[in-house]
Symmetry: C2
Subunit: 493 residues, 2 copies
C-alpha cells in the first residue's frame, strides 16, 4: 500500500516511455489491444464478482450487469476508433495557383500523453480501474496510471491484471498501464502534479474532484482535469401529467430513487412541482412507496455514515419537513430511504438544500406557481441531468421553464428517469459546473475519448510519412472531411 | 473610456437576456445573422483601413488583406454551421424490446452562454473585435462582450458598429454584442469574474493570458478561458536539405522572420540545426539578408520598447553572440531585425533562451550532433508550430526527432514557414501549454467554434420539440451520426 515517491517516479517514467514508443502505432493495433483487454475482462470469472460483492455490498446481478457494461465500453470505444469517429480527420488540399500558394493541411487527433485515473466507489467496474476513463484514455492512445479506489482494492487488482494481459497481447509496452494501491491523498497529489501526466479523469465527490482540479490548474504547465462530480438531478413534474397518474409516477420515481440504494450519480434527488391536489396525491402515493421500501447495505461504512450526516443536514434546515421514511429499521451500514419537503420560497434562499445527499434521499420542492418553479430552475446549480414529466401540452406550455432547465444540465429527459446511462455516442454524461469540471466533455460514450486527445495539423507533410488516417489513399476507409465535404473517398490529386 | 461597474452590469444583463432569448433561434437564422455581419464588415470603406493604419502602423496592403481574411472567417464559420459541422449531431434510436428498454438519445451542441473576448494588437481585424474569437462565439450561438484592445480603439469601434448592424439585420437582440473601450485591467477582471460570462477568448501575451486563466479558474464556478499566448515556433534544419540550398533557405527564412516586423504569433524565432559547414553557409547567407533588411515601425511604442528590452535580455545571456543585425539605423518605434546564436549545450540549461522576443528576432541553436538536437527538441516548451526543413530522406532518418517535436507543438510543417495561418477546418492554431491554455482547442478554423459550445443530450424528447438538427426528418439536410453511421438520411422509425 501507498507507494513511495521513487516508485511513482519509476512508474511514470515507464508511462512516458510507453507513450513515446506507442504513439506512432497504427490505429488498427490500438483497436486490437483494446479488444484484447475487453476479452480479458470478459474472461474474469466468479472471483471478480465475489471480490466486488464483498468490497461494495453490491448484489451479484447488478455486478454481472456492470461487468457486461464495462466490456461493452471497451468494445464500443474500440469500434468508434476503428470507424475514425474519435479522430475527426480532415484534409484541405493545396492550391499552388493561389497567391500566396495555399498549403496542404491535414488534421487528426493525437493522444495528450499519460493520463491519471481516479475511479469511483459506486461503480467498481464501469467507473473504476477498467472503467470509462481508462477505456477512453486508451482509445485516445494515452497510457494510464490508475490510483485504485481504496474501497475495492481486490476488485481493482483483478481488473488491473486483465488490462495488463490485454496490453501485452496487443503488443504494447507494459508501461501503458500502471495500478497504484493507495489510500493516501499524497499519492494522488504526486500523480496529478507530475510533469509526465498530461490529463486526469476523476469520478466522485465535489471536494475530491475540486482538489484535483486545483492541483491541475496550479502546475507550472496546467493540465485538464476532467472531474465528474455531484448532481441532484432535478425532476420537474408538470400539472397535466401529474393529474393523469400520480400513483404510477410515484411508483416509478421511488424505483429510480432507491435503485442501488440511491448510489448513482444520476440519482433523482430533487422533485420540483407546483403545489396543489395533484402534487398532494403524488406525495401520498410516494409516501406509501417509501415507507414500504427496504433499507439495504450501502457501498461502505463511510458512505453510510455520510448519508446519515448529509440527510440530517438537509432535514434540519428551516422549513424542511420529513414526508416519509422507510418503516423498517436500518442496520448499521444500511441506507434508509427518506423523502422530505420544502416550500419553493425557502428553497430559493437556502443553497444548503442543493447539497447532494448521496443515497436514497429526495427533497420535494413545492412551488406556489409556475413562476416560482421557473425561479427554482434558474437558481439550480449545474446538473448532469434534468427530467421533465409532462404531456406534450405541458411541455409547450412551459417553454420558458424548459429553456431555463436546459441551461443548467447536460441531458434532459422526457417522461423518463435519469438512472441508467446508455453507453452510446448520443449520450452526454457531464454538465455545467459543478456537475463536471468542464461542461464541454462527456465521461460516457465514445465522445469521452475527446477529453484525452488534441488536434494536430500537418502542413505539406509527405504522404508516405503521414499517419494512415490522413494518407491520400484513405487506407482505413474512414469518413474524413476533405475540403469541407464528408467523404470516404481517397484524396484526388 | 473605462466603463464603471454599473455600466458593465447592465451590459452583461443584456448579454444574458440576449442569450436566453436567442438560444432557441434556428440555425438558419444564426447563419444569416453571421452573413449579415460579414457583409457589414466588407462594406466598411477606407475609413477603416485609415484608422487601423494610424493605430497600428500596418501598411494598407496588409490591412486590406486582413480585412478580407476577417470577412472570410465570418462566412466560413457560418458555412460550417450551415453544414452542421459545428453541431456534431448524433442520434441513437430507441429499442423498446430490450430489457430495460433502450431510450431514444439525441445529442447536439449548444452555446455555453455569453463570452468575453480580448483582442490582440497585432491583427486589429482578424484577431480582434470582429476577429476569430467573436466570429466563432457567434457561430456557437453565444453573445459576445469585447474588451477593445487599447491600441486600436477607433478601429475597434468601427468594427463594433458593423457587428451591431449585422446583429440587428439578422433579427437578433442588440445584447448579442457589446463593445467596451477600456485600458484598465479592472474592466477585464469584472468581465471574466462575472457570473453571466461563461467562457473567455484571448490572444496576446503569456502574462495577460495567464492572468485571465487564473481569474477564470478561481471563480466559484470556474469557466474555460481559451488563451492563445506566445510561441517561438522552432525551425529545424536537417542536413541534406541544408546542403542543397543554404542561400535559398536563408532568404526564405529571413522573409518569414521579418514579415510584418516579426509581429506574428507564428513568427519563427528559433532555428535549430547541427553545426557544420552547411549551417555555416546558411548563417553566412542569413547574415547578408538580415544586414540588408530594413527596420520598420512596430505596432506601437510599447511593443517597440519591449522588443528592445527582450532582445537585450536574450543576447545578454551567457554564450549568446550576435550574428547579424540590420545595418540601417532604426528610428524610435521601429523594430530592427537581429539574429543571434548559441550552442546547444548552453540552450539546454537556460530557459531564458526560450522567452519569446516579439519582433524580428531569431536565435540559432547550434547543436553538436543529432542527439543534442533531439535533446533541444525535448527541452522545448509547448509551441503553436514547428517547422522541419529536410529531404524525405532527412525526415526518415530523424524519426525520433520528429516524434519529439510533435509532442511539443500543434502544427508541424515540412519545408514551409509557419507565418500565414490558413482559415480551414484542417488548421490547428493552438498547441501544448504555454502556446495555448488548452491544447484541445484551436482559435483558427471552424473548429474554433467548439471552444464555445457544449454537448447536450435529449432523452425520449418529442420530435416536434427537438431542435431542427435532431428532428427525424433532418430538415437541415446535414450529416448526422445515426446509430453510429454517418448519414444525411432521415431517421427511419
Amino acid at each position: 500500500m501507498n507507494p513511495g515517491k521513487d516508485e511513482i517516479e519509476m512508474i511514470l517514467q515507464a508511462s512516458q516511455e510507453a507513450f513515446m514508443e506507442s504513439k506512432s502505432y497504427s490505429i488498427g493495433k490500438r483497436v486490437a489491444m483494446m479488444r484484447a483487454i475487453a476479452a480479458e475482462i470478459e474472461a474474469l470469472g466468479p472471483e471478480l464478482i465475489e471480490a466486488a460483492g464483498a468490497e461494495s455490498n453490491l448484489p451479484e446481478g447488478r455486478l454481472t450487469g456492470e461487468k457486461g457494461r464495462t466490456v461493452f465500453q471497451w468494445r464500443s470505444y474500440a469500434d468508434a476508433l476503428e470507424r475514425g469517429d474519435a479522430l475527426d480527420a480532415s484534409i484541405d488540399t493545396a492550391n499552388a495557383d493561389r497567391t500566396p500558394p495555399k498549403p496542404d493541411l491535414r488534421k487528426t487527433s493525437i493522444p495528450l500523453g499519460p493520463v491519471a485515473v481516479f475511479g469511483a466507489s459506486n461503480f467498481p467496474f464501469a467507473f473504476s480501474t477498467a472503467g470509462g476513463d481508462t477505456a477512453s484514455a486508451f482509445a485516445a492512445g494515452c497510457p494510464v496510471v490508475v490510483k485504485a479506489h481504496p474501497g475495492h482494492p481486490k476488485t481493482s487488482t483483478l481488473m488491473a491484471e486483465a488490462i495488463l494481459k490485454g496490453v501485452e497481447k496487443g503488443g504494447y509496452p507494459k508501461g501503458m498501464f500502471a495500478h497504484l494501491l493507495s489510500n493516501s491523498y499524497e499519492t494522488g497529489q504526486l500523480l496529478v502534479t507530475h510533469p509526465v501526466i498530461k490529463a486526469v479523469g476523476f469520478t466522485g465527490s465535489y471536494q475530491g474532484g475540486m482538489a484535483l482540479v486545483e492541483l491541475g490548474n496550479n502546475r507550472p504547465d496546467p493540465i485538464p482535469v476532467f472531474a465528474e462530480m455531484g448532481s441532484i438531478n432535478p425532476v420537474f413534474l408538470l400539472s397535466e401529467k401529474l393529474k393523469q397518474d400520480p400513483e404510477g409516477l410515484a411508483s416509478a420515481y421511488a424505483g429510480s430513487l432507491t435503485l442501488g440504494v440511491g448510489q448513482f450519480c444520476t440519482n433523482p434527488g430533487l422533485v420540483v412541482a407546483v403545489d396543489g391536489p395533484e402534487l398532494t396525491s403524488f406525495v401520498a402515493a410516494l409516501t406509501i412507496q417509501i415507507q414500504g421500501s427496504v433499507p439495504a447495505p450501502m457501498l461502505n461504512e463511510g458512505i453510510a455514515k455520510n448519508y446519515l450526516h448529509n440527510k440530517e443536514l438537509v432535514t434540519s434546515q428551516d422549513g424542511v419537513e420529513v414526508v416519509a421514511e422507510a418503516t423498517s429499521e436500518a442496520a448499521q451500514g444500511q441506507g434508509k430511504p427518506l423523502v422530505a419537503r420544502v416550500m419553493g420560497a425557502e428553497f430559493l434562499h437556502n443553497d444548503h438544500l442543493q447539497e447532494e445527499v448521496f443515497g436514497p434521499f429526495a427533497l420535494i420542492v413545492s412551488c406556489k406557481d409556475n413562476a416560482e418553479m421557473e425561479q427554482v430552475a434558474s437558481r439550480l446549480k449545474g446538473q448532469l441531468t434534468s427530467s421533465l414529466f409532462g404531456t406534450e401540452t405541458d411541455l409547450s406550455a412551459h417553454e420558458k421553464l424548459v429553456s431555463q432547465i436546459q441551461v443548467k444540465c447536460g441531458r434532459i429527459l422526457f417522461n423518463n428517469f435519469p438512472t441508467g446511462v446508455e453507453v452510446v455516442k448520443s449520450m452526454h454524461h457531464g454538465g455545467p459546473f459543478p456537475a463536471a469540471s468542464d461542461s464541454r466533455f462527456t465521461s460516457v460514450g465514445a465522445d469521452a475519448i475527446k477529453r484525452f486527445t488534441r488536434p494536430f495539423s500537418y502542413q505539406n507533410w509527405p504522404d508516405s510519412l503521414l499517419p494512415e488516417e490522413l494518407k491520400d489513399a484513405n487506407p482505413l476507409g474512414i469518413f474524413r472531411t476533405i475540403n469541407n465535404e464528408r467523404t470516404q473517398s481517397p484524396v484526388k490529386r
